[in-house]
Amino acid sequence: MDLDTLKPHQTVDTCGLSCPMPLLKTKKALKGMKTGEILEILGTDPGSKKDIPDFGAKNGNRFLGMVDGEKGVTHYYIMKN
């Protein structure tokens, strides 16, 4: 899947926040989404680079990938099951 052309249904901004807030916000956002929808997460914490992919692949959800963007912000994409 081409991450650059992906159209996320919802975006969560966790820039500046560190563990565990990015994960909590991700979990909360996923709860409110429908099957097949895509969640985008923005984050700057280096810890998220392991946490979000691990968590994103749990409970049948699919972790689609991550892209390092400008100003040290990483974009993560998860598809809700």
Binding site: D13, P20, M21, K27, P46, F55, K71
Partner: protein, 397 residues
Amino acid sequence: MGEDGLLRSLKEQLTNGYRFLFVNAWSGYMAGILIAVLALMIFLWNGMWGISGGYRNWGEWFYYLIGLGGDRPATPWMDPQSVTNLAILAGAMASALLSRQFKARRAPLREYGKGLIGGILMGLGAALAGGCNVGGFYSAIGVFSMGGYTMMIGLGLGAWLGLKVLLWEMENLPPATTTTGSDAESGWSVVWQRFQPVAGGILGILLIAAVYLYAAVDQARIGGLLIFGLLIGLVMHRSRFCFVRAFRDPFMTGEAEMVKVVSLSLMVYGFGSAVIKWNYIQPDTMGVYHPFWLGSLLGGTIFGLGMLLAGGCASSTLWRLAEGHTKLGVTLVTFALTNAAAMRFIEAYHIRHYLGKGLYLPGVFSWQLGLPLFMAVLLLWTLMAGWNEKTEKLVIF
């Protein structure tokens, strides 16, 4: 194969080695075993490994310098726990630089507030429990001081409470404003990105030189602690070793990995220290002073709540700060100041008497029963976490 091929092979091997150490994340299990071995080395070399004692030393210095009395504290670069802390910080910073992960990281204002309160709670909790997540829990269990177990229960309670607070915050307060783009993609930051590993290498060399310096002035004992601390800092940073996760994740995502890592680590630590104590290489009650049970339970609960708010315990505050998280700098300051003040208060009013006293596990249950019991508790913890990972029965969110 000519000289050219040899050079290319050498370069390739160096690149692979660098990738292995500083690009790929280290496995948590490997880190757990390494940390247990290093904790045992510290135990053999000097005494039980702890962290809050070093924070207390720094807090005492502040009070001493502003004229709040007390005897002159030990010089920070001569106090054993202060030296291991400084070494963890420096080792983690060299590691962060070598991995190109060092960056001054600002956080939204509310996060600094949480860091400040978290530090106060951890400083207070560590004073009551006779140690932090390392000295009061990890090392305590590792050297068979029973206060470690009551602190463990307290840390679990505190983490549960802290997670509730974070959830409440997320549901009820507006999202904290973010500070994206702390520095623009200027030419300078590109240069810095390239230069980081060099800076890390230079820092590493200076730190090794400092070990020689200690030896040259007849302080090899302190120099040894510097080495062990540097290695702990490296291992913790590269594996992102976080005791908080062992207590928080079972309630948050159900993840059991860190519980398994800490359990495994403690098994190595415990069997190592059993051998050392059995042979009286170190006195068998060395490190057994944690107030069982009120002090360590109460202290553990307060500490657990604090570590959730701060987003770091005594050890991960050090390596996260070394990576540039300014929020944890605030935590470190309030932790040190509160811990020193609370220790003064506890001593002045003879409160320790009410908190409990150090109990030696083999002293109570004998070695024959004590070691199986030690193993049983860790296995039970692991099995429960594994069951919870499947069923998510304990997950509160």
